[in-house]
Symmetry: none
Subunit: 110 residues, 2 copies
DNA sequence: GCGGAAACACTACATATTGTTCCTATATCA
DNA sequence: TGATATAGGAACAATATGTAGTGTTTCCGC
């Protein structure tokens, strides 16, 4: 399986949507998107960018390019997801999410 | 002119090399690379990644994807706070925070 | 149990796009 | 002048893509 395909599957799972739903959101025909998600075909660059934007990720992540040199890949991926989700929130909601996260970070470890 | 083409030209200039030299470094035939650098053709995804790596950039930059999806200053400040808090969390905790944030973002507005 | 919708895999083919070759032109330098 | 390097145009065979048809499996309401 191709890396892009795995990432598309993974991202859909993260968002809790089916590939067909992802296709609809991106504005592509189901079958066409299914080709990308199965690794049989590759999208052109403009389509890649649109898919990444719609799914709340970046071409870098879809193509398996590490975000930063020193940063932990898993952490930065999760922070990116948060940053994207932040755009769909009101400022107040975002603030509450951050407060909650800071509380989690400050919670005593066992 | 295509964006990728402009970025390739810009990057070559930054590195102080010709397009032909860039082609050699990436390991592509001059003519083929020249097509990318002129916007007449698009590379496949694997080639794009290789070009980006060789030229010391990323697919995101070559495709013009902004570093951070957020634009608002208040939003990016809060995201930064989150990123800082993320360092004090376990990966699992961070993941749960992100899932929670995504759920908030996806919740219907009144 | 049954019908229908949804998701996904496989095949096929006309079309569009690419990789490559051949050719021309300009600039630089020995 | 001759040699070398870079850049780009035109054209064609090879390749990859978009789309359609078909079939299978799973799930859900009745």
């Amino acid at each position: 399986m191709d890396l892009l395909a795995r990432r598309l599957q993974e991202r859909a799972k993260q968002l809790g949507i089916s590939n067909a739903e992802a296709a609809r959101r991106v504005g592509l025909e189901e079958r066409r998107y299914a080709h990308y998600a199965s690794g049989r075909r590759e999208p052109d660059l403009a389509t890649l960018v649109r898919i990444a934007a719609t799914l709340g990720t970046t071409p870098n992540w879809l193509l398996g390019v590490p975000a930063g040199p020193d940063i932990d890949a898993d952490v930065s991926t999760l922070v990116e997801r948060f940053a994207y989700a932040a755009n769909s929130m009101s400022l107040r909601e975002l603030e509450l999410c951050v407060i909650q996260a800071e509380a989690v970070a400050a919670a005593p470890r066992k």
